[in-house]
């Protein structure tokens, strides 16, 4: 078990999705994830500031958000440029990626839900964490 704690912020307005993602990450045997959940769009930035995650799992659609995800994402990156952001989306058919790239969003990876392989999620987050470390090493 790796000693270092990987801080992951899970942001989704559906409580069941949030809790499931948290549960998956906490049950991972090979990595030590520390998870915080955010259910409201307004709390995302304060949580990022407080928790200082390495990776953020961000739902691409918050029903109540006054700021859409297209504003929240740049805000997160502006606040903490080194944080890695993975967008979770209900878009089926893998069409998320080209749209998001076309928009020039700074998301690092994309995950379509519902996904059935919990290990894939953990892999995705771990990879993002590796990128985080790489970036930090380059910055130093």
């Amino acid at each position: 078990m790796v000693e270092e704690r990987i801080r992951v912020l899970v942001a989704d307005d559906e409580k069941t999705v949030c809790e499931e993602l948290e549960g998956i990450l906490l049950m991972d045997r090979t990595r030590n994830f520390e998870v915080e959940m955010v259910l409201e769009a307004d709390n995302i930035l304060p949580s990022v500031g407080r928790f200082k995650p390495h990776v953020v799992l961000l739902d691409n659609f918050f029903a109540e958000a006054e700021l859409g995800i297209d504003k929240i994402l740049p805000q997160i990156k502006g606040f903490m440029p080194e944080v890695r952001v993975i967008i979770i989306t209900s878009k089926r058919g893998g069409q998320t990626r080209p749209i998001v790239r076309a928009l020039g969003w700074q998301a690092d990876d994309f995950l379509d839900k519902p996904f059935d392989d919990p290990d894939a999620l953990c892999e995705c987050v771990a990879k993002a964490y590796q990128h985080f470390l790489q970036q930090q090493a380059e910055a130093d």
């Binding site: 502006g78 989306t89 928009l103």
Partner: protein, 651 residues
């Protein structure tokens, strides 16, 4: 204080005249220095615009159905390209071929030919620039929402653009009279007798006014006509700027920037745009003053009106370049940089063009201002179109239009399925054989997490079930309605309701005219009322007042378009203004649980009946919410008290 101001003004006028008298060569140099770069920048602008529009259309990936709704090229881009080309031609030609237009005899014919091209281009440029700005303005105001309508409106605006064209054209020609340039001399010499009567009057006025101010009293109507004509003409040209200013105000109040750099960049961009609008307004005012008081010295007005504008511009422009770093995104810095360059050119041109008499340029020297400021606005609109194309893509990303029931149902359903899907895989992994099961039994922490996830998955499935039920109700709403007494149904909701913390509240019921009957589907009606009552209870639970109160009542007003109203009132938390306009959206809920369909169903139910649902709410210390269901005449009748025989249907 006033004396000091007059002295200062006098000082400026004196310095200006000093410069004019003593430093002509510098003026020439300054002029050329301004014109050539301006021309080159215009050309570069056109190139950038072309490249940017090409790359923008390139992001719509071919064959991708998700992106088929995206607009192609930003509207106005063609107009922009023509305007840019015309302006480039103007600037470069003016600098390079200055001799051609000074009226040198040997080049007279060439000057004439050249001048005609120039006038043609300039008029075209004004027309398309006005078009594109107007088009952009209407687009920004949300005047049309589909591309089809946009084409129609563009055509209309294009047609409209030709109305001021003759006026602009005439103005451009006749202001040559003041500039004493080659073409006008040629025209005056050779075509004087071709002028219509009213034009001759106009020329007489101008000459009379300039040489003998006293004559204005003798030619009252001509004078009035001249003043009105000049003023209206300039007003037509400059009308864009107040519209732009209004447009600006909404940008200027943009809240919430991501970080300080973004904020300053935005502020710099807006400052430059403000400067442009201010300069425009100053030009209008100045033109008006010059028209109304032509006998007064130009320089005096220039100093009074333009000096504060210059100071303000210099301050604001000094602001912008400091904030250009760091660059966030591609379009804003380009816009800001170009705006900055153009504004500097404007200022330089003001000094070079206005102050030195030999270069008392076309259209009274306002042309560079107009041209450059117009191109700034076309740029601004172009960049706005870029933003709009992006936000269309964002909307596509946001998984369906808000009021699209089916899309939102699918999104919600997808969310509900996540937990059950992944937990089953996890369970399978953890208990796939006896060894794994034993291992799990020995790790209580993991086991607890697994159990918690299972519980969560059950909640998700129950939400999915709720969703299915609600969708069934929605389908059920199409069933045949019956006449029933709302008062009777509502009375069934009497009785205490639990509002938490061992407290209860009984809804107070009042019914006017309880013999009234409604023609509705019974179960739907009951569900709607139950939903509203549940909302009231939730509101009270979330912010319990000292004396909780729920009221359900019917109100009847015979002569109203909606005679029967059913009102559900509570003094709970109230609905926050930021979510107020979304409460009727399908799957929108401020509570953690539930389907979020309650108010949507209520809204749809009333819509289908031809009635309406209203909400009055306030938050804060005396918060409350009141939902009013208003039923139309055709769904109401007065039944007899016995509720047996059919009553008279209200007409």
């Amino acid at each position: 204080m006033f004396k000091a101001f007059i002295r200062l003004t006098g000082g400026i006028v004196y310095s200006v005249q000093f410069l004019e008298n003593n430093m002509k060569s510098i003026a020439v140099l300054l002029r050329k220095m301004v014109r050539i770069p301006a021309g080159l920048v215009s050309l570069a602008f056109v190139a950038i615009a072309g490249a940017a529009s090409a790359s923008e259309s390139g992001t719509a990936l071919p064959g991708d159905p998700m992106l088929s709704g995206m607009p192609k090229l930003p509207p106005g881009i063609l107009a922009y390209a023509i305007a840019g080309a015309a302006i480039a031609f103007f600037f470069i030609a003016k600098t390079v071929s200055w001799e051609m237009v000074t009226g040198s005899t040997t080049l007279r014919n060439s000057a004439d030919r050249y001048w005609r091209f120039y006038i043609l281009f300039k008029s075209m440029m004004f027309v398309v620039a006005v078009q594109s700005i107007g088009f952009g303005y209407y687009a920004e105001a949300g005047f049309f929402s589909s591309l089809r309508n946009a084409d129609v409106l563009a055509l209309l605006i294009f047609a409209f653009g030709f109305v001021p064209m003759p006026i602009i054209w005439l103005d451009l020609i006749y202001t040559r009279n003041w500039a004493q340039l080659g073409f006008t001399r040629y025209y005056e010499d050779n075509f004087a007798e071709w002028r219509p009567h009213w034009m001759r009057k106009y020329y007489d006025c101008i000459d009379a006014g300039r040489e003998k101010p006293g004559n204005f009293r003798n030619h009252f109507w001509e004078t009035a006509f001249c003043k009105a004509y000049s003023f209206i003409t300039w007003l037509l040209i400059y009308l864009i700027s107040p519209i732009s200013l209004v447009h600006l105000r909404s940008d200027f109040r943009n809240p919430a920037f991501a970080n300080n750099a973004g904020k300053w960049l935005q502020a710099g961009q807006d400052a430059l745009a403000v400067v442009t609008a201010v300069i425009f307004l100053a030009c209008i005012f100045f033109a008006a003053l010059q028209t109304v008081f032509p006998a007064v010295s130009y320089y005096f007005w220039a100093a009074i009106v333009l000096f504060p504008v210059l100071v303000l511009s210099a301050l604001l422009l000094g602001f912008a370049p400091l904030r250009l770093l760091p660059m966030v995104g591609a379009t804003k810095p380009i816009t800001v940089l170009l705006l900055f360059i153009y504004s500097m050119i404007l200022l330089l041109d003001l000094f070079a063009g206005k102050i030195f008499k030999d270069f008392y340029a076309l259209a009274g020297g306002y042309t560079p201002w107009i041209l450059l400021s117009l191109i700034m606005w076309v740029t601004h609109i172009f960049m706005t179109e870029l933003k709009r194309a992006r936000s269309t893509a964002v909307k596509v990303m946001k998984e369906g239009v808000r009021t699209n029931f089916a899309d939102r149902a699918l999104h919600h359903f997808g969310n509900c399925l996540q937990a059950p899907t992944s937990i089953l895989v996890s369970v399978q992994q953890e208990i796939f054989d006896a060894e794994a099961l034993k291992k799990l039994a020995g790790e209580p922490k993991r086991l607890n997490i697994l159990l918690r996830r299972i519980g969560n998955a059950r909640v998700a499935l129950s939400d999915a079930q709720q969703l299915i039920n609600d969708m069934k109700s929605e389908a059920r709403a199409a069933r045949k309605p019956q006449w029933l007494k709302p008062a009777k149904l509502l009375a069934m909701l009497q009785g205490p309701v639990d509002i938490g913390k061992n407290r209860q509240v009984s809804p107070e019921m009042t019914f006017e005219r309880d013999e009234i009957e409604l023609n509705v589907e019974k179960r739907m009606f009951q569900q709607i009322i139950q939903n509203l009552l549940d909302n009231a209870v939730s509101a009270i639970r979330s912010q319990p007042p000292r004396e909780p109160r729920i009221e359900i009542k019917t109100v009847y007003q015979q002569d109203d378009a909606y005679p029967l109203s059913i009102i559900i009132f509570d003094n709970g938390s109230g609905i926050q203004s930021k979510v107020r306009e979304r409460i009727y959206d399908a799957y929108f809920s401020t509570k953690g649980a539930g389907s979020g369909l309650g108010l949507y169903l209520a809204w749809k139910f009333m819509e289908d009946l031809g009635g309406e649902i209203q909400v009055d709410t306030r938050t804060g210390s005396d918060s409350q919410t009141k939902f009013t269901l208003r039923f139309p005449k055709r769904s109401i009748r007065i039944g007899p008290n016995s509720g047996q025989a059919a009553g008279k249907i209200m007409s």
